[in-house]
C-alpha cells in the first residue's frame, strides 16, 4: 500500500521535473532534440527513404534536391538516409556504453566506500590509473589489439568513463554514510544490502545520472572521431563519423555532406549538455525551493 503511493508521488515528481525542464526555451530545445535523437535512433531503418548502403555511381556527389534532401556522397548513396540510419549507431552506443559504465561505476563506487580503507585505497589507485590514460592513445591501442568494431568502441568508452562515476559515487556514499538517517538504520539493525539499495542508492543516483547525461555527447563524439579516422564502425555501415569521413575528402566542392553530419553532432552535444545542466539545477535540493 505504502509502496503504491510511493510510486505515485515518484511519477508526479517526474512529471514536475519534465514540466520545469520545458519551461525555459533552452530546456525545451534540449528535450526536443534528445527525444528526436532517440526516436530517430530507434526508427531510423524504417523512415529512411533510400537504402543507406545502396550504390548509385551515376548519381554521385549531387547537391540537395527534392529527391535527395541532403544530396548524395561520392558513390551515390543518399546522405539523408545514411544520417537517419547512422543515428542508430550513435544512440545505441550512447545508451549501452553509458549504462554499462554507470552500472560498473556505481557498483564499484559503493563497494569502495563501504569496505576497509585498504581496499578503498587500492580501488582508488586503479580508478586513477585508468583515468590517467589519454583516451585516444588508449583507444588506438585497444583497436590495434581487437580490431575496429562497435563493441570495441563500447569497451573503450566504458573503461575510460567508469572510474569517474565510481569516484563520484564513492564520495557521495562516503558523505551519506555518516548521515544520521543511515546511522538510525544501522541502530535498528538494517543489513548492509538493504541500507545500500533502499537508503543510499536513491540518494546517489540523481547526481550520477546528471553526469551521465553530460557524458552521452562525449561517447557520440568518440565514436564519430574514431569512425572519422577509419577505426570505428566498419564501412559501409553508416554512422555520423563515417559520413563525416566520406564528406571530408570533398569538403571543397560538396560541403553539405560534412555539414549534414556535423550539425546533428553539434546539436545533440549541446542538447545533452544543456539537459544535464538543467536537470542538475532542477534536482539539486539546495536550489529547489
Amino acid at each position: 500500500m505504502a509502496q503504491r503511493t510511493n510510486k505515485h508521488t515518484g511519477l508526479t515528481r517526474v512529471r514536475n521535473v519534465i514540466r520545469k525542464l520545458c519551461s525555459t526555451p533552452l530546456g525545451l530545445f534540449s528535450v526536443i532534440i534528445v527525444t528526436a535523437f532517440f526516436v530517430v535512433g530507434i526508427t531510423g531503418d524504417w523512415i529512411a527513404p533510400y537504402d543507406p548502403i545502396k550504390l548509385d555511381i551515376r548519381a554521385k556527389l549531387q547537391g540537395p534536391s527534392s529527391a535527395h534532401w541532403l544530396g548524395t556522397d561520392q558513390v551515390g548513396r543518399d546522405v539523408f538516409s545514411r544520417l537517419l540510419v547512422g543515428t542508430k549507431v550513435a544512440s545505441y552506443l550512447a545508451v549501452t556504453a553509458v549504462s554499462i559504465s554507470l552500472a560498473i561505476g556505481i557498483f564499484l563506487g559503493m563497494i569502495a566506500a563501504f569496505t576497509s580503507r585498504w581496499i578503498d585505497w587500492s580501488m582508488l589507485l586503479i580508478f586513477d590509473t585508468v583515468r590517467s590514460f589519454p583516451t585516444l592513445m588508449f583507444a588506438l591501442a585497444v583497436i590495434a589489439l581487437f580490431g575496429p568494431s562497435i563493441n570495441t568502441i563500447i569497451g573503450i568508452v566504458v573503461i575510460s568513463t567508469f572510474p569517474s562515476y565510481a569516484r563520484l559515487v564513492r564520495t557521495q556514499v562516503l558523505s551519506l554514510r555518516s548521515m544520521e538517517y543511515i546511522e538510525a538504520q544501522r541502530a535498528m539493525g538494517t543489513r548492509l544490502p538493504r541500507i545500500l539499495m533502499r537508503h543510499i542508492f536513491p540518494n546517489v543516483i540523481g547526481p550520477v545520472m546528471i553526469v551521465a547525461s553530460m557524458d552521452i555527447p562525449l561517447v557520440i563524439g568518440v565514436e564519430a572521431g574514431l569512425s572519422f579516422l577509419g577505426l570505428g564502425v566498419r564501412p559501409p555501415t553508416p554512422s555520423w563519423g563515417t559520413i563525416l569521413n566520406d564528406g571530408f575528402s570533398f569538403i571543397r566542392n560538396t560541403p553539405w555532406i560534412v555539414i549534414s553530419a556535423g550539425l546533428p553532432l553539434i546539436l545533440t552535444t549541446v542538447a545533452f549538455t544543456t539537459l544535464g545542466e538543467r536537470l542538475r539545477d532542477i534536482l539539486d535540493p539546495k536550489l529547489r525551493r
Partner: protein, 560 residues
C-alpha cells in the same frame, strides 16, 4: 544627528517572499547605547528583519513598503557602494554558526586584516588592531591565535573571533543573529557576559536576535516580541517580562520551562496553558520498577577512537593517535525509569549511546540489556535486541531518509526486523503517526515538507514502531521552539506512562530534563562525574563541573 533620536528607526516596514508576508508593517526603534532583544519562534520573521537592517535580504525577498533609517539616513535607498561604506564599519553582524562564519582556508590574522580593507593604516597597524580586538574579547594567547586556522579553535573561541571582527571598527550597531544558540550552556553564559561588557566599553547599540528568553532577560535592556511577522510587544525587559501586556508574550513566558520552578508532569504549551500538571512523586515511584534488575546496565565502559593514519604516517612509523571518548563509564537504568545524561558537547555522551547500539566499537567493559551482555554476542543475536531498544538521533529531519515518504520511514523498523508480514503497513504507519499526534495525511509527506517539531514526532513514532522497552533520545528538544519543546516533552511523558518505557535522554539543556528525568547523570570529558536523583543533583551538586553547569543553566533564582 542629535543624541536623542534613535539609532535605527523602522517605520511601517513590510517584507514579502512571493505571496508570503515575512515581516508585516513593523515599526520599531533601537535607541543609542542600548541592547534590544528580538525574540520569537522560528519563522516569526526576526532574522528577516535583522537582515533587512544590514541590507542582506535574500533575492526572493521584496520590501513592499516602509522605511529603515540608520542615524538619519534611509537604508532602503542605499546602493552597493553605500553599503560597502557602512557595513563592517558602522553596522556589524555576528551570525549564528561560528563554524561556518570563518573561512576555513585562511588564518585568523589574515581574515582580521581583510575586514579592515576600508582603513588606510599599514599592515603592521592593522595587525595591532586585530591583536587588540582579540584581547578585548578575552581570547587567551591572542598573539598565537592570529597565525592559527579556524579549525584549531573551539566553538566558543571561534565565536569570540567573530565578535572581535565585528567590534574592531567600533560599530554604532552590532547585530547578532542567534549568536549563542549553537553553544553549550556554559559557553553561552561566557559569551553573553562578554557581549554585555563590550557593549558597555564601546557604547554601541545592539540588536540581539534569539529565541532564548533567559538570555534576553540576562543581557538586554529592551525587548521586542515577534510572532508571524507582527510585533506583539515592545518595551523594556523588566516591564515586558514582569508584566506582559500581550497574550502571546505572556503565553511564551508561561511556556518557558526554565520559568517553571516546580517539577511538572505535563508542561503548558502555547495553545493550551491549562495542560500544566505538576509531577506526583507517588505515580513516579509506581512507574519505576526498582526491584528487578536494571534494564540497561553499562559497566566500566571504555570507548576509544583511533585516528586513521595516512600512508606517510605509516611509512614514517608515526604511532596511532587515540582519543578516549568514554572512560570507565557505569550507568544503570531501571525499567520504566527516565534518566538524563547531561554534559557539554564533546563530553562523550552521544558516543556512550552509540556504543550501547554497537554503532561504535567499545574497548573494554560490559553493556547488559535485560541481563545479556551486548558486547559479547554476535551481530545476528544483537539484531533481536535492536528491536527492544530504539535510538532517536539528534537532527529530527536529518535522521529521516529525504527520498522516503514519512509513512515508509516509520514502518522501516518493522520491515527490517521481519515483523511486517501479515500487517497492513499503511494502516500501521497511520496508527503510529496518530500515536504521536500526527494526522493520517502525514503518511505521504516527505521529510523536507515538515517542520522540526513534526519531524521529531515522526522520529518518536519510528522509535516506537517495535514497541521497545527503552528509548535513547539524543537531544530530543534541541533546535525546537519553547512551545514545541513542551509538546515533545509531554509526548515522551505520556508515552512512558502508557507503554512503561525506559528513557535515556542525552542533552545539555537542563531546563527541560529537570521536569522529565527521575535521575541525572553528569558526564564531563568522557567520565561520569556525578549521578543522583534530579532533586538531589539540583539541590546539592557535588562535582565542580555540575555546579558550573547548574549555575549557567538555571541561575541563582531557583535556589541552586
Amino acid at each position: 544627528m542629535t543624541e536623542h533620536t534613535p539609532l535605527i528607526e523602522i517605520n511601517d516596514l513590510a517584507i514579502k517572499f512571493g505571496s508570503h508576508t515575512a515581516v508585516n508593517n513593523v515599526t520599531m526603534d533601537i535607541s543609542r547605547g542600548r541592547i534590544m532583544g528580538l525574540v520569537g519562534e522560528s519563522g516569526s520573521g526576526k532574522s528577516t528583519l535583522a537582515n533587512a537592517i544590514i541590507g542582506l535580504l535574500p533575492y526572493a525577498a521584496q520590501i513592499s513598503h516602509g522605511s529603515i533609517h540608520f542615524d538619519g539616513r534611509n537604508l532602503l535607498s542605499f546602493t552597493a557602494q553605500d553599503w560597502g561604506k557602512i557595513r563592517g564599519k558602522d553596522l556589524a553582524y555576528v551570525s549564528q554558526d561560528p563554524m561556518s562564519a570563518l573561512n576555513p582556508t585562511l588564518r585568523i590574522g589574515k581574515q582580521m586584516l581583510d575586514i579592515q580593507h576600508f582603513s588606510e593604516q599599514s599592515t603592521t597597524e592593522k595587525l595591532a588592531n586585530a591583536l587588540a580586538a582579540l584581547e578585548q574579547v578575552r581570547m587567551p594567547q591572542a598573539q598565537a591565535r592570529l597565525s592559527m586556522y579556524p579549525h584549531e579553535l573551539s566553538g566558543g573561541q571561534k565565536q569570540r573571533v567573530c565578535i572581535a571582527m565585528a567590534i574592531m571598527a567600533r560599530p554604532k550597531l552590532l547585530i547578532t543573529d542567534e549568536a549563542t544558540t549553537a553553544l553549550d550552556a556554559t559557553l553561552e553564559v561566557e559569551i553573553v557576559q562578554l557581549l554585555k561588557e563590550l557593549q558597555k566599553d564601546i557604547g554601541c547599540s545592539m540588536l540581539f536576535v534569539t529565541h532564548h528568553l533567559t538570555v534576553v532577560e540576562e543581557l538586554c535592556d529592551d525587548v521586542t516580541v515577534m510572532h508571524q511577522g507582527d510585533i506583539k510587544e515592545c518595551g523594556t525587559v523588566s516591564e515586558v517580562f514582569s508584566n506582559p501586556s500581550d497574550k502571546y508574550t505572556s503565553n511564551l513566558l508561561t511556556c518557558d520551562p526554565s520559568r517553571i520552578e516546580e517539577k511538572c508532569r505535563r508542561l503548558p504549551i502555547m495553545f493550551n496553558l491549562g495542560l500544566k500538571e505538576l509531577a506526583d512523586p507517588e505515580t513516579d515511584r509506581k512507574r519505576i520498577n526498582n526491584k528487578s534488575r536494571p534494564l540497561l546496565s553499562i559497566r566500566h565502559l571504555d570507548v576509544t577512537f583511533r585516528k586513521p593514519r595516512s600512508l606517510i604516517d605509516i611509512l614514517t612509523g608515526k604511532p596511532k593517535q587515540r582519543v578516549e571518548a568514554v572512560k570507565t563509564a557505569s550507568l544503570d537504568i531501571a525499567p520504566g525509569e527516565t534518566v538524563a545524561l547531561i554534559g557539554e558537547s564533546g563530553s562523550g555522551k552521544s558516543t556512550l549511546a552509540r556504543a550501547a547500539f554497537r554503532l561504535v566499537p567499545s574497548e573494554k567493559g560490559e553493556i547488559y540489556f535485560d541481563g545479556t551482555d551486548l558486547l559479547s554476542i554476535t551481530n545476528a543475536d544483537m539484531r533481536s535486541f535492536r528491536n527492544e531498544m530504539s535510538l532517536m538521533m539528534q537532527d529530527p529531519i536529518g535522521s529521516l531518509n529525504p527520498r522516503m515518504p514519512v509513512g515508509t520511514s516509520v514502518i522501516e523498523p518493522l520491515i527490517v526486523s521481519e515483523k511486517a508480514s501479515g500487517l497492513n503497513l499503511r494502516d500501521e504507519a497511520i496508527h503510529l503517526l496518530e500515536l504521536v499526534g500526527l494526522s493520517a495525511d502525514f503518511v505521504d509527506r516527505y521529510p523536507h515538507e515538515m517542520s522540526g517539531g513534526q519531524a521529531r514526532r515522526v522520529g518518536v513514532a519510528r522509535a516506537l514502531a517495535l514497541r521497545p522497552k527503552m528509548i535513547i533520545a539524543d537531544e530530543p528538544t534541541a533546535g525546537l521552539d519553547v512551545s514545541i519543546q513542551g509538546e515533545i516533552f509531554n509526548l515522551l511523558a505520556e508515552l512512558r506512562e502508557s507503554m512503561s518505557l525506559s528513557i535515556l535522554i542525552i542533552t545539555h539543556n537542563l531546563h527541560v530534563v529537570r521536569h522529565l528525568a527521575d535521575r541525572m547523570v553528569i558526564m564531563y570529558h568522557g567520565e561520569i562525574v556525578e549521578t543522583g536523583t534530579t532533586e538531589n543533583v539540583i539541590r546539592a551538586p557535588k562535582h565542580a563541573y555540575t555546579k558550573v553547569l547548574l549555575e549557567a543553566n538555571l541561575q541563582a533564582k531557583y535556589g541552586v
